[in-house]
Each structure stands twice: as structure tokens, then as C-alpha cells.
């Protein structure tokens, strides 16, 4: 008798604990998801419907008839003629940045992992120093340099070139290449391959994970870049990448909230696809950073 009561009490406690636990999870989910949910749902409504729904729970439901869902999206492309262009710009800038970053930093990482040349040690120390000591260089001195080089007249170059080299990625490539046994390349050298051919034939195929990780992280960085783009492309609307162009839509008076929400939602789709497709690489890359 006693025993069963005890057992039931125990399970009751456990059940309350479980309920509370899942309640907490639910609340957390609501906090993390409701703004994004609201953004998506309301991007399917007209501005007047957004405001008339706002007072109650209907604001979280797609209340417009399904045929009218994409009106705001069509209006978005019609009203802001350069929105489509800015998406194309962002894709182009990302592609160029990824190519530049992968080639330049992987070669540099390879040089530091294999070849001992004068200054080799100094360079490695400088890179480590840059990575350890946070420097608030901000963008002002970079802006000054671009100004002096006359690159500000060619905003695209001024925007892209500084992003090509990254001490962190050089270091990441170097650490990965250090783990590849040298015997693999020796065979290639004996066969008469030069440095560049050995690199592309032997090293690159062995290092796809690190190339993928750096590529994805570069994409995310480039896609999300705001401040520098804002600085470089102020006054050059047709060259603006998506993130800066969004602010033009957001700031436009009179503001149309449905267009703003549609633009925010639409601009998130490409990067969300990248996250979903490459989640394994992202988690590994994140872990790489964390384990170092």
C-alpha cells in the first residue's frame, strides 16, 4: 500500500517536472520564433490588414485570402525597381568574395604550412598576434587607405578587395594543411609537378572540408555585411548589396510596412537555404572555432 503511494507520488512529481520543462521550452520557442513568424505571416498581408489585425491574435495568422498573399512581394519589385538588382549585386559580391578568399588565403596557409622562407616565423607570429589582440581599427583607417589609393571612385573594388584576405582564414587553412601527411606531395614532386600543380592536384582534393567551411562562412559574412557596404555605396543605389538596400525600403516615407516585411523576409530566404543545406559544415566550422 505504502509503496504504491510512494511510487505514484514520485511519478506525479516527475510529470509536473516534465510539464514545467516543456512549458519552459514552449515559452522559449515563442520568444525566439514569434518575431520571425510575425514577419513572414504579415508579409502576406496588405498594410491596412496588418494594422487592423494588430489588436488581437489574428496578427499571428495569415488572414488574407491565399490569392492575395504575394501582392506585397509583387509591389515590392515594382515600387523599388532596384530591389531585384540589389539581390543580384549581393550574389555577385558574395561569389567574388568567396573566390578571392578561398584562393588567396588557402595559398597563404599552404605557404605557411609547408615552406620555410625568410620571415616565415615572423608572419606566423604576426598573424597570431592579430588574432589574439582585438584592435578597434574600425573602418576609418581602411576608408583613409582606400581614399588615398583612389579606390573610392570605384566603389565595387573598394568594397570587395579589403575583404579578400583574412588572418583567421589563413590560420584555419594552415592548421588543416599541417594535418595532411607530406608523403602525399612528395610523390607528386618526384613526378615533376610544380608547387601550384601539387597544390591543386593533391592538397585541394584532400581539404574539401576546410574549403567548404571557409566558403560558407565567407558567404555568410559577405551576405550580412552592412556597415562597410553602407559606407562604400552611399549615393550609388544601383550598386548596393541587399542589406543596405533594405534600409532604403525601411526608411522610405511614407513607409509601407507590408513591403518592408516582404523585403526582410525575401532577403532572408537565400541565407536560410544555405544554412539548411550546409548545416553539417556550419556546425563543424563552429566547432572548429570552439575547439581551437
Amino acid at each position: 500500500m505504502n509503496k504504491t503511494i510512494k511510487k505514484r507520488k514520485y511519478t506525479a512529481g516527475k510529470i509536473t517536472y516534465k510539464i514545467l520543462f516543456y512549458l519552459l521550452l514552449f515559452v522559449l520557442c515563442v520568444i525566439f520564433l514569434f518575431p520571425v513568424w510575425w514577419m513572414i505571416v504579415n508579409s502576406f498581408k496588405s498594410q491596412s490588414l496588418i494594422y487592423s489585425d494588430m489588436g488581437g491574435f489574428r496578427t499571428f495568422l495569415p488572414t488574407a485570402p491565399i490569392g492575395e498573399w504575394f501582392i506585397s512581394y509583387r509591389l515590392l519589385f515594382v515600387t523599388f525597381k532596384e530591389f531585384g538588382r540589389s539581390i543580384l549585386n549581393s550574389v555577385t559580391y558574395a561569389a567574388l568574395t568567396i573566390s578571392g578568399v578561398l584562393i588567396i588565403n588557402s595559398l597563404a596557409g599552404y605557404a605557411l604550412s609547408r615552406f620555410v622562407f625568410p620571415g616565415h616565423k615572423l608572419i606566423v607570429s604576426i598573424i597570431i598576434l592579430i588574432l589574439i589582440v582585438p584592435v578597434e581599427t574600425s573602418i576609418v583607417p581602411q576608408y583613409v587607405i582606400l581614399f588615398r589609393l583612389g579606390l573610392l571612385k570605384v566603389p565595387v573594388l573598394a568594397y570587395l578587395i579589403p575583404g579578400f584576405v583574412s588572418p583567421f582564414y589563413i590560420f584555419m587553412f594552415r592548421s588543416f594543411f599541417l594535418g595532411i601527411p607530406r608523403e602525399l606531395e612528395e610523390a607528386a614532386y618526384i613526378d615533376g609537378c610544380g608547387g601550384l600543380r601539387t597544390f591543386f592536384r593533391i592538397i585541394v582534393p584532400c581539404s574539401l572540408p576546410v574549403f567548404a567551411t571557409v566558403g560558407i562562412f565567407t558567404f555568410m559574412g559577405s551576405w550580412n555585411e552592412y556597415i562597410f557596404a553602407q559606407l562604400m555605396f552611399a549615393g550609388h543605389q544601383s550598386m548596393m548589396p541587399l542589406q543596405t538596400y533594405l534600409q532604403i525600403i525601411n526608411k522610405y516615407q511614407p513607409q509601407d510596412l507590408s513591403l518592408v516585411l516582404a523585403s526582410l523576409t525575401f532577403s532572408t530566404i537565400p541565407i536560410a537555404i544555405v544554412y539548411v543545406l550546409f548545416q553539417r559544415w556550419i556546425v563543424e566550422g563552429v566547432a572548429f572555432g570552439g575547439l581551437k
Partner: protein
């Protein structure tokens, strides 16, 4: 690039063993040629866009340089620094940055570690919850700022209508100097926590099961297990996350730039933003560099101290 390959390969057989000496050290000619040519693009770009900005900003801090008259720069000694320490807005920005760091880092750290701990247990819908907490990370900082700016709109934003629905007082939110920075703290943690959650999660998954089993046999309670086993096992990850989070928080600029432009009454102006404003908007490169110099010292001191505290100074 092609010329490098050509230059190296024909000589290869003879040159492979050739060496030269520099400062008493011997280097292979071939290694040097290939190594330097591979490193060259990064060296050139890195010197111009990574190293030079640091040195330039260091140098300009002691001058009166203005963006539009960079050919007419005069040595100013410590004058910019004297100005800086009397600049009330600078101190306001400094205070705001510190307040942001002190608030956002614990909040985001607890949130991300807490979420990771929850997801590390066997719960139903684990994958769903992981994605749910990760969704804000997929939004860019610009999208996050613009979305929340509209949600927190004091006239017709969603948050105020929710407040009204529950009978609460309408708030001025971003227009209220007492609330604006806290809102930025909240949205920053909201946007970023899912990312560090992933880092913690992968660290937690690497802790060997048998340590927990041993603790279980010893009758340790959950808090003891967390304090004596979980936390020490993820110490390195913890310090990595802490330092990156700190540095990120020190550099806050995008959110206030989009949401408040530093207002109201400078309540959300941060150091990075003020440095940007002085350098770009007011074109006062010398003064901007002096503030950056001062702020770098503060940031570096804090970051290096934390690394020292965790006993590992080469965390990258």
C-alpha cells in the same frame, strides 16, 4: 599566378637542394621561391588592408589629420588625447559600450549555455528545438535591427499592441533614453544566442559519458554535476565563447546605427559608432584615431585578462 608555376618547375631538379643563408639561418631556394610566391597575394593585401590600417590609426592618433586634407597633416602630440578625455559624448559612448558589454555578455552566455544544456538532454523534438533557437541567427544584423525597430515602434508596433492587449502601459521603447540601450541588448542576445548554443552543444557532446556515470554512482546532484564536471570539461570552449562574445559586444555598431542613430540624447551611441562618426561623418581622422587607440587599449586589456584568467593565452 601562372608565371610562378613556370618559373619554379623547370629549375626544380637542380635547385631542390640549393640553399642560401640569411641571418645565420639556411633556407632552401625552392622553398623560398614557392613559399613567397604563394604567400605574396595575401602579403600584399594583408599589408595594405590589415596591417597598414592598424599602423595608420596608431600614427594619426598623434596628428590633426582631416580626411579631406590628408596632405597637410601636423604633429599634435597628445593633444587629441587631452581633448578626448574632456569629451563628454566620448565618455557617454564609453559608458554605453561598457553597459552593453556588461548586460549582453552574461545574458547571451546564460541563454546560449542554458539552451545547449537543455538540448543536450534527451527530449522529444530535439531537432525542432535546435532549429527554433537557431532561426534568429539566420537573420542578418540589418534584418534583425529593422524587424525589431518596427516591432518596437512606439506608435503602431506589435509590442505596444501586445502590451495594450494585456492592459499594460504603452511604452516609448526606442524613443526613451532609459529603454533604448536595453532593447538593443535584448535583440542582440536574441539574435546571437543560437550560434553560441551550437558551439556549446558540440562541446557538451564531446564530454565522455562515463564521467557522468561515475558522478551518478557517487550520488552527485545535478547542480554538483554541472559545477564540477560539465563546466570544467567545457572550460576552453567557455573561454573561447566568452572572449569572442566580449569582443563582438565591444564592437557594437550596426544595431544602433540602424535603429536609433545613437539617440535618443546619445543614449545608444557606442564607442565603435562614435569612432565611425568622428572619422567618416565629421572627417576628423586624427581625433577618431585617438579614440580608437584608447579603445583598443581598453579592449585588449580586458580580452587578454580574461584569457589569462582561463589559463590559456593562445585561444583562437
Amino acid at each position: 599566378m601562372e608565371s610562378n608555376g613556370k618559373a619554379v618547375s623547370p629549375k626544380k631538379k637542380k635547385v631542390r637542394r640549393a640553399h642560401f643563408k640569411l641571418f645565420g639561418k639556411s633556407y632552401g631556394v625552392n622553398d623560398t621561391v614557392v613559399g613567397v610566391s604563394f604567400f605574396l597575394p595575401a602579403l600584399i593585401l594583408g599589408s595594405i588592408f590589415v596591417i597598414a590600417p592598424m599602423l595608420i590609426s596608431l600614427g594619426y592618433a598623434f596628428t590633426d589629420a582631416k580626411l579631406l586634407s590628408l596632405n597637410n597633416v601636423h604633429w599634435a602630440g597628445f593633444r587629441q588625447f587631452a581633448l578626448l578625455f574632456k569629451d563628454k559624448i566620448m565618455w557617454k559612448a564609453f559608458g554605453n559600450s561598457m553597459e552593453f558589454v556588461v548586460k549582453v555578455v552574461p545574458l547571451q552566455l546564460c541563454a546560449s549555455l542554458g539552451l545547449a544544456l537543455i538540448l543536450n538532454t534527451k527530449i522529444r523534438g530535439n531537432t525542432f528545438f535546435r532549429w527554433a533557437f537557431f532561426v534568429p541567427v539566420m537573420l542578418s544584423l540589418a534584418v534583425t535591427s529593422m524587424l525589431w525597430m518596427n516591432l518596437f515602434n512606439e506608435q503602431d508596433g506589435l509590442i505596444n499592441s501586445i502590451f495594450e492587449f494585456f492592459g499594460l502601459q504603452r511604452q516609448k521603447f526606442l524613443k526613451d533614453p532609459d529603454q533604448a540601450l536595453d532593447i538593443i541588448v535584448f535583440i542582440s542576445a536574441w539574435q546571437g544566442a543560437g550560434y553560441q548554443m551550437l558551439i556549446f552543444l558540440s562541446a557538451l557532446k564531446n564530454i565522455p559519458r562515463d564521467i557522468y556515470e561515475a558522478a551518478d554512482l557517487d550520488g552527485a546532484n545535478k547542480l554538483q554535476v554541472f559545477w564540477h564536471i560539465t563546466l570544467p570539461s567545457i572550460k576552453e570552449t567557455f573561454s573561447f565563447v566568452l572572449v569572442t562574445m566580449l569582443i563582438g559586444a565591444f564592437r557594437l555598431i550596426t544595431q544602433p546605427m540602424i535603429m536609433t542613430q545613437g539617440g535618443p540624447i546619445n543614449s545608444t551611441i557606442t564607442m565603435s559608432y562614435y569612432i565611425y562618426k568622428q572619422g567618416v561623418d565629421f572627417r576628423d581622422v586624427g581625433y577618431s584615431s585617438a579614440i580608437a587607440f584608447f579603445y583598443t587599449i581598453v579592449m585588449a586589456t580586458v580580452a587578454l585578462t580574461i584569457r589569462r584568467l582561463f589559463g590559456k593565452d593562445n585561444t583562437l
